[in-house]
Subunit: 104 residues, 2 copies
């Protein structure tokens, strides 16, 4: 229970934001999800989801692929290995904090 602990257990701000936390949680379950599916599951607006996805892609946590389906673009997202690890680490950090767990 020191300042040190909070350094160890610092919550990754890329994941900790509420909208992105939902997205990452969904992707962690689904393996792959397209824009509209995420739109429905998160309840975010399109603009908002778009910028959140960009942030996750920029962080290297999510892979974005655009493909043409029925002449239309379909954007699909999936967690990268880095993203999956970061999510795991985030959950551990969150649990450590909220459980008041002592570390080292």
């Amino acid at each position: 229970m020191t300042a040190d602990q909070s350094l160890d257990a610092r919550l990754d701000p890329v994941i900790h934001e509420a909208g992105r936390l939902v997205v990452v949680s969904v992707l962690n379950e689904c393996q792959v999800a397209n824009f509209n599916f995420l739109l429905a599951t998160t309840g975010l607006t399109r603009g908002n989801l778009s910028t959140h996805m960009r942030k996750l892609v920029d962080a290297g946590y999510v892979d974005e692929t655009k493909e043409i389906v029925d002449r239309k673009v379909r954007t699909e997202y999936r967690l990268t290995k880095t993203g999956r690890q970061a999510f795991k680490k985030y959950r551990n950090a969150w649990s450590a904090i909220t459980n008041g767990a002592q570390r080292r």
Copy 2:
């Protein structure tokens, strides 16, 4: 796994912020904590801790009491009943999201 779920499980933004989450978690364990103790456990700066505590007090989640100890002011904080409930609700919401749990 609908937009509905995310409404149910919406994360209380007063608690979800990283600094305040640590504070609330500590208060949930400690019953009562003073400013300096929170400063040490959270690793926040004084200014930052001060504004976070104000926000928790304004939300009705934390009770603030000032007392004189050795001629100096000592500020103590403790969770209100509302705050404790809100924390519990927050943890449930977080778990529901990150576990990809289906509700109703």
